[in-house]
Amino acid sequence: MSPSTKDALLIALLRACAVAAAAVVVLIVAFVARDSWPALRDIGIVRFLSDDWSPTGADPGFGIMPMLVATLVTSAGAITLATPLGIASAVFAHFYAPRGLAVLLRRVMELLAGIPSVVYGLWGLVVLVPLLLRFAPPGQSVLAGTLVLTVMILPTVALMADVALAAVPAPTLQAAHALALPRHAIALKVAVPAARSGIVTGIVLAAGRAVGETMAVLMVCGNVVKLPTSVFDPVRTLTANIALEMGYALADHRAALFVSGLCLLLMWMALASTAGLVRGGRHA
């Protein structure tokens, strides 16, 4: 077989793989959209935003607004907390920690990243919730959800930042050293900006995990469908709602849950494209 035939074969194979991967995504979106369509057509988008959520009542309501807010608030809170912590941990591992400690820190982060979310949820329910209960009952709350999500996504941010910092070209750092910059300036003013693209990717992946997390938030958020007025109020996220009710939902109720799923997909697409824009400046 001549080298050009091998290339042609490889290209065909790679193309097939790429098409298959893309087709799966398209099929999932199409399936969710198809099952949401009856609800969007019969109920209408306005009612999804303005109704109460009482899909099985005599006068059914399909408002997903409180749950949309719950998903946004818990995820945004978790990202806000996990981003500085994750970047700080990566900077510490790279520029300040002795070698042994840095390796240990990385191992711990890798371990944390692999723990199943239900274990985080269980920990949240038996440790975190009773702790928060001392300040304001019932303990299951926006804050509990945010904290559990923070712990869950922290390793993603930290590990991605770590990899990105390791990929900063040595000459960049050498030049900074040659200018006799202090260590904090090299780390925060030179290395972190140079690693921006990788760090942002990590934050976006973490945000995706936070938005999509189901089990852990189901266990610690309290699942009451209500707009929260404080961080101690219980909330139900879109994902928890799907998990709680999909097994019991029929007809319009089921379609309404698919609309929640579509919402989550759209949120994820918006997130991913925002990240593309942020990175675009450097990589386009």
Binding site: S54, P55, V126, G139, P234, Y248
Partner: protein, 281 residues
């Protein structure tokens, strides 16, 4: 447990295979092969663990038989049986009038217990008090004669039959309930109450007794003087009860019929009691 969506798709696929197998059986008549017999049961997550245990026993007595047990709630059991996706449905209540097209086989009785934290000094609540607590008219334990402190109302999510039994008994509308926490299954309910000295919730008496025996800090609370135990359910004195029913759409297949007979035989009683349900005669 929470993967009902997947479970359902899988269930549909499995049920399709089964119905094809059975279609083959009836057509084949005497050529029915023992090695390809399968039965699918779907429905109530309260009954599923018991039926799964019984299914394992049944399978060990009948080589070649496969029994699949899937959860998804009583209404799922009803709709799967109607659509032919399952051979038998599991429903944790008696059949309603609108369901008279189905045949029900009473399997056992379960009580719904009100539970509070073990440190709660109260031992009894009246019917009215429970309604006041769950509709948010009473928000502090002091008003019920307990130690002062806010009440955390733990309520089940819509669709759960435990919730239907509870609301039905107290004559409450789902919309009037003002919960502090909404939970999915019994285990989450027990954990939510165990972690909160001010909480009140309701779960299967079986689940409550099993957890209390295990040392979880919860206690069942009496309702209008009726103590919530398996014994009082057996004696018929406890008001908050429901039937656990196996349902079929029309006559049972031979295999399904054998399984129902097995599940209601004296041999099955010890398994029913091991799950803290009460066997019926």
């Amino acid at each position: 447990m929470l993967d009902h969506g997947h479970g359902r798709a899988l269930g549909a696929a499995v049920a399709l295979c089964v119905s094809l197998t059975f279609a083959g059986c009836t057509d084949g008549g005497s050529e029915r092969s023992v090695t390809s017999q399968r039965l699918v049961l779907t429905g109530s997550s309260t009954i599923a663990p018991l039926v799964a245990d019984l299914a394992r026993q049944f399978e060990s007595q009948r080589p070649g038989v496969r029994i699949d047990v899937q959860t998804g709630g009583s209404s799922r059991g009803i709709s799967d049986v109607r659509q032919g996706l399952a051979g038998i449905g599991m429903v944790s209540r008696g059949l309603a009038d609108a369901e008279s097209d189905l045949v029900g086989y009473k399997l056992a009785i379960d009580g719904v217990a009100l539970i509070v934290h073990a440190s709660n000094p109260l031992v009894n609540l009246t019917q009215e008090q429970v309604v006041e607590v769950y509709t948010g008219r009473v928000r502090d334990w002091r008003e019920l004669g307990g130690a002062p402190g806010p009440i955390t109302v733990v309520h089940k999510a819509d669709g759960r039959s435990t919730q239907e039994v509870f609301l039905g008994h107290f004559g409450m509308d789902p919309a009037e309930v003002e919960p502090s926490v909404v939970i999915g299954d019994n285990e989450q309910g027990v954990k939510s109450v165990a972690g909160n000295p001010g909480a009140i919730g309701y779960v299967s008496i079986g689940a409550a007794e099993a957890s209390a025996e295990f040392g979880v800090p919860i206690k069942p609370i009496a309702l209008d003087g009726h103590v919530a135990t398996s014994e009082s359910v057996a004696l018929g004195s406890f008001p908050l009860v429901r039937e656990l029913t196996l349902v079929s759409n029309g006559p049972l297949s031979p295999l399904a019929s054998d399984f129902v007979a097995f599940a209601r035989s004296p041999y099955a009683r010890e398994f029913i009691e091991a799950h803290y349900f009460v066997a019926v005669d």
